[in-house]
């Protein structure tokens, strides 16, 4: 048997092409004769559309046509986009039509599309489409939107409540009656957006000869795009192929199905010419999903020793104008609060508000950073109330390892109980503390103080449900060429799936990682797929690759044994060949074996075997696999300018067994960078009329090379019992507790001022203001 690649720091198969300009992102794909689309978008957050005059635009040079909702096929006009994840708690399942008809409900909502010979000409014409706008009062701040008499986000509705639900267990009232200490936090958590460096993009090409429409989309979920197209356009499933080629980052927003993904294929088929739309950065700020605001009013009850008795409160979630992903983000928030702690009683009432802003769907972390921030603020407040160290109060509440698996008492978004499958939370915190030199911090603080520097330390824990089902499949196939091919519905945007899948497959056949061809994100390559989001690929797709590889290997051995007239147990696979142990000249290439079972007229298959050297598995985990971790941030605060420097950043990280630590470390580091952005920089501002104020990278700041610390990581590998590899998801853990840890560290640095930051991002202006307020 060849090398084992599981757990090795294998460099990536993806890199060479991307480093030499041979990456193939959607906008890089050139098909001669391609037309270009530009959208006419609402300049108002809420406005009635009196009429649209596109006559001048249609007459402009290079313009092929302009379409409003009224110009689209009749069967499409009345159809709303599919609400992907319905839930009984949703009282107003409001979804848009592909173009706005009577009214626009956020700035950037598309009301018409122009197709022209070039993008600049399409933009020229889009600017010449005259829309008769009648501005309406807008719902902006989610709290105000829920007040009686507030302007409604959708004309004709009664109120702005999209959903209301309660997550609870235990006797919460008794917990607060018994409490020795009660602490309260009123929190505004702003999550910002995904802001992948590549915007969205769609290219569609209709092959009239084959009557098939090829769609390339910068999506995290091509199979889902295909299902939506079938549902919306009524096309036969054999008439559509969807491919996500190289995708330049996703972070959640590209997991949505967007109106452009419906319109561009429709126009390509209508016009019988390829049509492309590439989102520009301004459109991304206006139209791509965001996660934005949650308002938490929560309190925690502690006993005299600092043990949690209960947490209760309310939360308002701003979901924007539509709810394509239902209530997934707020539901995850609500079920994430207990985290790694023994929490005997819990009650959170959540209201999901409709506002005149672009829709909210999950962004890396998906509601968890907000919940962790709320819980960790409460833990810090508890520590202050009890005079305990921040790490100590957490230590007293962590779920002991011997209680695993641990049933929290809540139902997760997949309808299954929140049951932590494995993990050693006390060990994880202890190892992170050791790496961070937590115990020695007060000495460092004193030394810094002597130099006139102000430093602080912060700690935050989290538990994250990953590996959401229902499945992600993989086909492993060896054809007569002998090439080993893996196909999966996974649709990566930088996670290195190709490499990790090749690792799992190659080791079964005694070949190198580069010998495996991996085909991803292509609806023709595998029948069913879900997509790459929710840290789900490791737990779903990787076991499928593993199991399918074993099947194909076993079959290859059986066929080889039959052909070589040897016993199966004497067959070895190495270097792309099967041979009889000790008799290397008695060998067959994998290609010869594949050829033998590929079906040659007149030749019988070995008895009891299906044709083809191929196997498909759709692994379906029984439940979510729960990751956990501890983040510790050490910061310096310039009390005059409010500048925060992150001196050191340590993560204790448990994502089960690691297939490729090089890649996992990269995910953690990148996730922390996003969390730094959430803590210190990233804010999507809207005015009282819900006009977006941050629509460029100059206004919306994402962290740069000078702002992100090295995330020193200690991995604890608690295998998940829920899949044959023992893996858990690793894509979001870097982000989830980062804002909580950093803000905790800032508060710690400024503890002599009693500065509190129950919100993110914390700006230099906020810090100086808080110090001034304390000194006043």
């Amino acid at each position: 048997m060849g090398a084992s690649f599981f757990g090795a720091r294998v460099v990536r198969l993806e890199d060479a092409a991307l480093l030499t300009g041979r990456g193939r992102f959607t906008d890089d794909i050139r098909i001669p004769g391609t037309l270009h689309a530009a959208f006419v978008r609402s300049p108002f957050a809420h406005a009635r559309i009196g009429g649209i005059d596109a006559a001048a635009a249609r007459a402009m040079p290079g313009v092929i046509g302009v379409w409003t909702l009224a110009d689209l096929p009749e069967e499409l006009r009345g159809k709303s986009l599919l609400l992907l994840l319905p839930n009984p708690a949703i009282s107003q399942p409001l979804m848009p039509t592909v173009l706005a008809g009577d009214e626009a409900r956020y700035v950037g909502e598309a009301v018409a599309v122009v197709v022209a010979e070039t993008r600049p000409l399409a933009e020229d014409a889009a600017a010449a489409v005259i829309v008769d706008w009648d501005p309406l009062p807008a719902a902006s701040d989610a709290r105000d939107a829920l007040k009686p008499g507030a302007p409604v986000a959708h004309s004709g509705t009664e109120n702005n409540i999209a959903a209301r639900f309660v997550n609870a267990y235990g006797d919460i009232d008794a917990a607060f009656v018994r409490a020795a200490h009660v602490v309260r936090e009123d929190i505004l958590h702003h999550r910002g957006g995904g802001h992948a460096m590549e915007g969205r993009a769609v290219l569609a090409h209709h092959d009239a000869e084959e009557s098939r429409t090829m769609v390339w989309s910068a999506t995290q979920a091509p199979h889902q795009v295909k299902r939506n197209l079938i549902g919306l356009l009524g096309w036969d499933e054999n008439e559509i192929d969807v491919i996500a080629p190289d995708v330049g980052g996703g972070f959640g927003p590209k997991a949505m199905f967007y109106i452009e993904e419906a319109i561009i294929p429709l126009l390509a088929r209508t016009l019988r010419r390829p049509v492309k739309w590439t989102e520009d950065r301004r459109e991304h700020f206006l139209c791509a999903s965001q996660e934005r605001d949650q308002y938490w009013n929560v309190e925690a009850a502690f006993d005299a020793e600092g043990r949690l008795l209960g947490v209760r409160g309310t939360m308002i979630h701003d979901n924007g104008a539509y709810i394509p992903w239902g209530i997934v983000s707020p539901l995850i928030s609500s079920t994430t609060v207990p985290g790694p702690y023994v929490l005997p009683a819990y009650r959170l009432e959540t209201t999901v508000a409709l506002t005149n802003k672009v829709q909210v769907t999950p962004v890396r972390g998906a509601g968890r950073p907000q919940a962790v921030f709320a819980m960790e603020r409460l833990m810090d407040a508890g520590a202050r109330a009890l005079g305990l160290d921040a790490a100590e109060i957490r230590r007293r509440n962590l779920i002991p390892a011997d209680l695993m698996p641990y049933d929290v008492g809540l139902i997760f978004r997949d309808g299954k109980p929140v049951t932590y499958d494995s993990g050693d939370y006390p060990r994880c915190q202890a190892e992170a503390e050791a790496l961070a030199g937590y115990a020695g911090f007060e000495a460092r603080r004193e030394a810094a103080r002597a130099e006139g520097r102000v430093i602080g330390i912060g700690i935050a824990n989290y538990v994250e449900g990953t590996g959401l089902g229902p499945f992600e499949g993989a086909t492993v196939r060896i054809g007569p060429s002998g090439k080993i091919m893996v196909a999966s519905g996974a649709a990566p945007q930088g996670q290195g799936h190709r490499t990790t899948m090749a690792q799992l497959c190659a080791e079964k056949f005694g070949v190198g990682v580069a010998d495996i061809e991996v085909v991803l994100a292509d609806t023709t390559a595998i029948a069913h797929g879900v997509g790459t989001f929710a840290s789900r690929i490791a737990c779903n797709a990787m076991p499928s690759v593993h199991l399918a590889s074993i099947d194909v290997r076993d079959k290859a051995v059986r066929v080889a044994a039959h052909m070589l007239e040897a016993a199966e147990e004497d067959i070895e696979l190495e270097g792309g060949k099967a041979f009889v142990r000790g008799v290397p000249e008695m060998a067959l290439t994998l290609g010869q074996i594949a050829h033998a079972v590929a079906g040659t007229p007149g030749y019988a298959l070995p008895p009891g075997l299906d044709p083809g050297l191929e196997s498909t598995h759709y692994f379906s985990p029984a439940a979510a696999a729960y990751c956990n971790g501890t983040h510790i941030a050490e910061v310096e605060v310039d009390v005059e300018t409010g500048h925060v420097t992150i001196l050191r950043y340590v993560t204790g990280h448990d994502a089960g067994r690691l297939i490729n630590p090089l890649i996992v470390d990269g995910q953690v580091q990148g996730g922390v960078a996003h969390g730094v952005g959430n803590a210190l920089f990233e804010a999507l501002h809207f005015d009282a009329e819900a006009n977006p104020l941050t629509t460029t990278f100059a206004d919306y700041i994402i962290p740069g090379a000078c702002d992100v610390p090295w995330a020193e990581t200690v991995h604890i590998e608690s295998p998940s019992p829920l899949n044959p590899l023992g893996v858990k998801g690793a894509g979001e853990g870097g982000t989830i507790p980062a804002a909580a840890a950093i803000v905790s560290a800032i508060e710690d640095a400024l503890k002599e001022y009693g500065a509190r930051f129950p919100y993110v991002p914390v700006t230099p202006s906020d810090i100086v203001g808080a110090i001034a307020a304390a000194e006043a």
Binding site: E123, T641, A698
Partner: protein, 286 residues
């Protein structure tokens, strides 16, 4: 986000450039120098000039020369030209210290000194330099040439007193006397971002007393300017903590700061105090 169409002109001489500007100024003709501020606004179609007069090929505008006690900086001299000192005296060192705060390395390869002044962004480092050092700004037009003092040049955010047919052909900075000490401090949320506030200070010490104090503040108000009251707090005083604090307080008190969603006026005022003090400390320590 593609720019709206425009007519492109690439004159080779200043005379041709100003003639083209005279011909097209009324029709929203604009000068294109480095383009690092103009092109983004065109991409957003916030600016839709009908004519762009590209001066990058105009002979003679790319030169830096010393004349009459002044450093003369032509209209197409890029920020990157100042990475290394362009003159041996204090001014060369000052410009090198400031330039690394301007945007980012690739932007500095294209953006120009004079373009920055003509664009007059409140957060422009060069505007702060020009104001603090009393730059002379040479405007050329088909009508002739005039020299505008920096104090009369900046006229609020993104606004100057250049007429629409005038090209800022050259900026002249005083070659500061030997022994001039300087300090520059700016604060932005992230390296290379637009500054929230900045302070440029320069002074000499004669017989233990500060002389020729200059304090320029940028970023905090719509336009960069010298702060006379703060300078007065320095001139004649012994360099040190007390004088620096007095000047910093005076500068902060003189501010009428801008406000935005992330930054309160009070914060900007506090920042000015801190930056002036730190710039003075840097200058004294140099």
């Amino acid at each position: 986000m593609k720019p709206a169409p425009f007519q492109y002109h690439a004159p080779k001489t200043v005379a041709d450039a100003v003639a083209l500007l005279a011909a097209h100024a009324g029709d929203d003709g604009r000068i294109l120098a480095g383009g690092q501020s103009l092109v983004p606004t065109m991409a957003f179609r916030l600016a839709r000039p009908a004519h762009l007069i590209d001066i990058n090929n105009v002979e003679g505008l790319d030169c830096i020369a010393e004349a009459g006690g002044r450093l003369c900086i032509g209209a197409t001299v890029r920020h990157a030209a100042f990475h290394k000192p362009v003159t041996a005296g204090p001014l060369g060192a000052l410009l090198s210290a400031v330039v690394r705060h301007i945007a980012h390395y690739p932007i500095r390869q294209r953006g120009t000194f004079c373009g920055s002044l003509a664009h007059a962004d409140p957060a422009s480092e060069w505007c702060c330099v020009a104001a603090a050092l009393d730059a002379e700004l040479v405007a050329r037009s088909a009508r002739g040439e005039r020299v505008i003092q920096a104090a009369a040049f900046f006229d609020g955010a993104m606004t100057t007193t250049l007429a629409e047919d005038e090209l800022l052909a050259e900026a002249r900075l005083p070659l500061l006397p030997e022994g001039t000490k300087f300090g520059f401090q700016e604060f932005s949320r992230r390296a290379g971002d637009f500054a929230i506030a900045m302070a440029l200070v320069a002074f000499r010490v004669e017989g233990g007393r500060i002389a020729d104090a200059r304090i320029g503040i940028g970023g905090a108000e719509p336009a960069a300017r010298r702060i006379a009251k703060a300078e007065a707090a320095l001139d004649g005083a012994a360099p040190g903590k007390d004088a620096f604090a007095a000047a910093a307080d005076a500068a902060a008190a003189a501010m009428d700061p801008m406000e935005d969603v992330n930054t309160s006026a009070g914060y900007r005022r506090d920042l000015v105090r801190t930056l002036v003090r730190r710039a003075l400390e840097d200058a004294a320590a140099a």
